[in-house]
């Protein structure tokens, strides 16, 4: 602004002088054109430059921030801009970072922020402002400077203004699902999935016989793996994915060949900046032998953020997984949680594989997918993250305290489904609880109260649906809550199944068809405190590989005979006998399939859940009967000779989808998404 006034005045005077002479009219036009062109960048620094492009769905504003005047640098970013009075505004100076929700002209600070500090003159820094779901996140110079959570405004334009610098290459990058899988089943070129950053990398046969060098994919179900070898220059590192990937897990099957460290990498920026799960061997002679570490490499310096005992054994296959989300870093080995840390570095970046072995480390079955978490220890305020639905809430002394006869605070996204939600909670004589699947004045609550309380749930755990202010108790059971003691509560929402846990023990569950998705929250009655809340999404259910071997016999004709002897099914001795799976399936499970051409013929299908071939009374059986010319299915739920329930189901199209499920203590049957049976058994 200080430059622009005099600059404009000088040129205006010159234009007037030029226009006094007719010969110079053309000159004046061009001069004016040049002046306008020159003024555009200066003007853009004061008034926001609004990008023409608008993206549906999540996006990031990204660009290179050039710092010309470090002391006076001021960046203002606008997202979901509807008009000047309705927008999110992110402001950054050396001493301040601020996120504001501006509604009807009133600005309210939201989220957690920290200042960048002094900038270097003539520095070029990567800037990204992510708008993803309910979250806004500012990443500058590979540091997360702001994270806010709000959904008041959605959609709209994106703009920016910079003084003391410039953002010359601002662009909108769409964000979306993070997903990549690689089984390394290829021999040809053309692959651009992986980039070898250091060391040597290549796809090699897993065979150890004389056919190893032939690389014959058809001779094995899992012929190849990706092998990395460190060199004298240092570890081997290969990366995949894109610079904007965030909130994901990278899992890989890993087989170390020697005692050197192996690992997987997240938020990779360059060879000197990334996060990694680094795992050394029990057999190593190095000082850090036999440890699993979360390390951050920043500016080429490696720092251990967390460490646990227990190393790998060379030659053994493991599944190593690194998860990153909202500053939380976790490591799992063979699906067991082993290590966690916090790190606000980078905030986004590629994924990778890592080894310090020069003999080679095998990597296979790599899967990278979204991983979302919510963690809060209430050590610092986060305005806007929690919305008060009822009662009075106060964040104090590292806890969130509720007062009043009934209090509910909600957080998260209404789109969230299939999660585990937990918190530490305590009360003297009131009730403590968690809320889940909250959508528009409809939510499900797990609540518990000490025996001496005068509340209806005294000495009990209850799962309650609260809809339009009306309560319905769906399940209840005995539970011991000690007055004044901290208890860990957990509420799992899994496709209709709601399960409540107290101090790690499952105390009750219920299945409800409308408990599918929604926000999470905290519940209190008569005063309670909460701490250390933690949400994690449940992993997608694994699908047993039984259907493919049967349905694709035409395409994989050469495999049919092989499959019939080694597949998961046992062929019955007689024609009408049941096909039994070879495996035992523990815990919750679903049999899902389609019935095609319901009207075309009469027939019967019997599905046995948790049964045994030699015990007809074991488990639960679903019998579905079709009649020729009718679109009505007769469904019967049985246990041995006992009929549990019967129903007739009219299907709308010629094919219908059937799900027969064990969900906690419930057996649920749905046809075309409609619940036919839900019984506790």
């Amino acid at each position: 602004m200080t430059r622009r006034g005099p600059f404009r005045r000088v040129h205006t005077m010159r234009c007037e002088a030029l226009l006094t002479h007719p010969r110079h009219g053309l000159m004046a036009v061009f001069t004016a054109l040049v002046v306008v062109c020159l003024l555009v960048p200066a003007h853009a620094q004061a008034e926001p430059t609004m990008l023409d492009e608008q993206l549906d769905g999540p996006y990031a504003l990204a660009g290179t921030l050039h710092v010309s005047d470090p002391e006076n640098l001021r960046v203002e970013l606008l997202v979901d801009w509807q008009d000047p009075d309705n927008t999110y505004r992110v402001t950054m100076t050396p001493l301040l970072t601020r996120v504001e929700r501006v509604v009807a002209g009133t600005a309210v600070a939201i989220g957690r922020t920290r200042a960048h500090g002094a900038f270097e003159p003539e520095a070029d820094l990567e800037l990204t402002l992510r708008r993803e779901g309910w979250r806004l996140e500012l990443i500058v110079d590979r540091q997360v400077l702001a994270r806010a959570w709000d959904t008041t405004l959605e959609g709209g334009r994106v703009g920016y203004s910079v003084t003391g610098g410039a953002l010359p290459d601002a662009m909108l990058q769409p964000l979306g699902e993070v997903y990549m899988a690689d089984d390394f089943m290829r021999t040809g070129g053309g692959n651009t999935t992986w980039e070898a950053v250091s060391g040597s990398w290549g796809i090699e046969s897993l065979r150890v016989d004389e056919q190893r060098d032939r690389m014959e994919a058809e001779k094995s179900a899992n012929a190849f793996s990706y092998v990395g070898r460190a060199t004298e220059e240092g570890p081997a590192l290969a990366t995949t994915g894109y610079w904007f990937w965030s909130d994901y897990s990278i899992g890989a099957a890993v087989r170390p060949s020697g005692p050197e460290a192996v690992g997987v990498v997240a938020y990779y920026q360059d060879p000197a900046n990334y996060l990694a799960a680094r795992w050394t061997s029990e057999l190593s002679e190095e000082p850090d032998a036999g440890t699993l570490q979360i390390v951050r490499v920043a500016g080429g310096e490696r720092q251990v953020l967390a460490q646990a005992d227990g190393g790998h054994i060379p030659g053994q296959w493991y599944r190593l997984q690194l998860r990153v989300s909202e500053g939380v870093v976790q490591v799992h080995v063979d699906d067991e949680p082993r290590l966690a840390a916090t790190a606000e570095l980078f905030g986004q970046g590629q994924a990778g594989l890592y080894t310090e072995s020069s003999e080679g480390t095998n990597f296979d079955s790599v899967t990278i997918q979204n991983w979302t978490t919510l963690v809060d220890d209430f050590s610092e305020p986060a305005p806007g993250r929690w919305s008060i639905s009822d009662g009075s809430w106060e964040q104090t002394d590292g806890t969130l305290r509720a007062t009043g006869p009934e209090a509910i605070a909600l957080t998260g996204s209404a789109d969230w489904g299939r999660y585990s939600w937990e918190a530490l909670a305590r009360t003297e004589a009131g009730a403590i609880g968690l809320a889940a699947c909250s959508r528009e004045d409809d939510l499900f609550v797990l609540r518990l109260a000490p025996a001496g309380s005068d509340l209806t749930c005294a000495g009990q755990a209850q799962i309650v649906r609260v809809r339009g202010g009306e309560e319905t108790i769906l399940a209840s059971g005995a539970a011991e809550v000690r007055p004044g003691a901290w208890h860990r509560l957990r509420f799992v929402a899994d496709d209709g199944l709601l399960a409540g846990y107290l101090d790690g023990e499952r105390v009750l569950d219920v299945w409800h068809p409308e408990a599918m998705a929604g926000q999470v929250g905290l519940y209190a009655a008569g005063g309670a405190s909460f701490d250390s809340v933690y949400l994690q999404m449940l992993p997608p259910p694994r699908i047993a590989r039984v259907a493919k071997e049967f349905t694709e016999g035409d395409e994989h004709w050469e495999m049919v005979e092989w499959a019939s002897t080694r597949a998961a099914w046992l062929k019955p001795d007689d024609e009408e006998g049941a096909w039994w799976t070879k495996g035992d399936y523990f815990g919750d499970k679903t049999i899902a399939f389609e019935i095609k051409n319901v009207e075309s013929s009469a027939g019967e299908v019997r599905l046995h859940l948790e049964a045994a071939p030699d015990d007809e009374s074991a488990g639960v059986t679903l019998v579905l009967v079709t009649e020729k010319g009718s679109n009505t299915l007769r469904a019967t739920l049985q246990s041995g000779e006992e009929t549990i329930e019967e129903a007739s189901v009219e299907v709308e199209s010629t094919r219908c989808s059937v799900r027969f499920e064990r969900k906690g203590t419930w057996v649920v049957t749905t046809i075309d998404g409609n619940v036919v049976f839900s019984v506790q058994r």
Binding site: M27, Q173, G190, T192, T193, E555
Partner: protein
């Protein structure tokens, strides 16, 4: 002295206009069904989830190939694309692979040698696959997607001069850059 002012200003103005145009990010998004010509076994198919409700593909052969021994034919789709300004363009393909033996196409640009797009391990899912970087002149170019493996599907492809941009979902169609045969116009 004044006689140099006008030319200088004109040159400056032209340079600035060219500069802005050069700096502009270009995205050319072509639907699979925008082909100028198609040769079997490449075929068009309808879809509820593909952009434009259609895609092109090399249909699964029965039995499906279990080795990478080479394609059974040279089925292909030819696209005529108008490049607005010369530069280096990144090619992206929105693809759906059947399995490890159905996860690539050959791509031939003008009369240049064929390159492979695909060979990644994401199966049974529409996703964007990075292709070659192409030095293209302004004007018309022919891009050919050709059979390499059966079970490979193509929904869209994109050419962009923005090296940092990565497509993640179906992109907005840009018919202004696509030349179609008269009967399809």
């Amino acid at each position: 002295m004044r006689r140099f002012i006008v030319p200088t200003i004109v040159v400056l103005a032209i340079l600035m206009v060219i500069g802005y145009a050069w700096a502009a990010s270009i995205k050319i998004v072509v639907e699979g069904e925008d082909y100028y010509s198609i040769k079997p076994s490449m075929a068009k198919a309808p879809s509820q989830v593909a952009s434009g409700k259609a895609y092109i593909h090399i249909p699964l052969r029965r039995p499906h190939a279990t080795t990478e021994t080479g394609p059974a034919d040279d089925g292909n789709a030819r696209f005529r694309v108008r490049i607005p300004s010369a530069g280096v363009y990144q090619l992206w393909a929105r693809a759906h692979w059947y399995d490890a033996c159905g996860n690539s196409f050959f791509v031939v640009v003008d009369d240049k040698p064929a390159t492979i797009v695909g060979e990644d391990g994401t199966y049974q899912k529409w996703h964007w696959v990075k292709g070659p970087r192409l030095q293209l002149t302004a004007g018309e170019h022919i891009i050919r997607f050709q059979n390499r493996e059966d079970g490979a599907k193509l929904d869209q492809f994109m050419l962009t001069n923005n090296a940092r941009y990565v497509p993640v979902r179906a992109e907005k169609h840009t018919p202004e850059y696509i030349i179609k045969p008269p009967k399809n116009q």
